[in-house]
Amino acid sequence: MTFLTGSVQPRTASARAVGPTELEVWHPQLLMYEYEAMPTILKYILDQSLRRLMRMNTLISKLNERREKSEALIQKKIQDTSRRQFFRKSVGLDCYFKPLQTVFQFRNSGTVTDISKGGARIEVHRTKHMALATFKPGDLFSLKIYLTPQSEFDAKAMLVFQGALKDSENIALGFSFQEMSEDCRKALSFFLK
């Protein structure tokens, strides 16, 4: 890279031998002579691509920084929401959940094993839902829980944990409720009494 960028920029990365390594060292002057003598069209394309590569590398650094910040924020949010504030009721309710942010907006089914005013724990069969692997804490979902066969509960919820269950084919998903209608809130309060 230093050669391609004209040797004026500092090294952009370190290269460390991970085992015994033999290298061939090319003299930059010789390579530069060949580079300069390159046909105009190739030099034109290469110069453009090099600028793109440098822009991409800068973008990668910036995006990495942003990702680290947003991960830290999600972790904080998860820690905040994981402090249980409400009574959790053990149940076995049918439910459906659908990711809101991904392009794959398919519906998944599962069983709610416990529920509170703040969130719900859902168990799903791991082989039935291969897409589960693509979900990660912080993702938003729409949840539909059947509190009774006649009473549906809908909420927007954030995934706060995901973990495989020992001695089981199921995966546990923890959701924290983010938004729900007043009617749903009342129905849930009544159900939890």
Partner: protein, 133 residues
């Protein structure tokens, strides 16, 4: 911006595209190298969370070159969409190939390495952009 006559001499054909037309599609096989003669284009890439725009291209910018320069001729890594009416020139790949053959093996290696890194970098950008979206 006007195109250098030396560069323009490599244009073997010109094609016009309407707004939003996909000139090159990600995943397709194709080795044509294009240069924008009029208009602007957007570089788009699929990610796990939808399609993201990586860059904007303008007159004089080249695209489609990665599939040409990488030895094992990989499928197109991005989709190029016309951002308004666009006139593109298709570069004469036979002439480009002849020019490429004139390079020393070590310089060819440097060129290929750079395009491989560019491909990896655009994959990485798409992956990261999807994560922070």
């Amino acid at each position: 911006m006007t195109i250098d006559p030396v560069i323009y001499s490599y244009v073997s054909e010109e094609e016009r595209y309407p707004p939003d037309a996909a000139i090159v599609k990600e995943g397709d096989r194709g080795y044509w190298v294009y240069i924008i003669l009029e208009g602007r284009c957007k570089v788009k890439k699929r990610s796990s969370r939808g399609t993201i725009t990586l860059a904007s291209l303008q007159v004089g910018d080249i695209f489609g070159e990665m599939s040409f320069f990488i030895r094992n001729r990989l499928p197109r890594t991005t989709t190029i969409v016309a951002d308004g009416p666009v006139l593109v020139g298709i570069l004469d790949t036979d002439r480009l190939n002849k020019e490429l053959k004139k390079l020393s093996p070590r310089l060819k290696q440097v060129v290929e390495m750079m395009f491989n890194r560019l491909r990896e970098a655009s994959d990485k950008v798409a992956e990261l952009a999807a994560q922070v979206k």
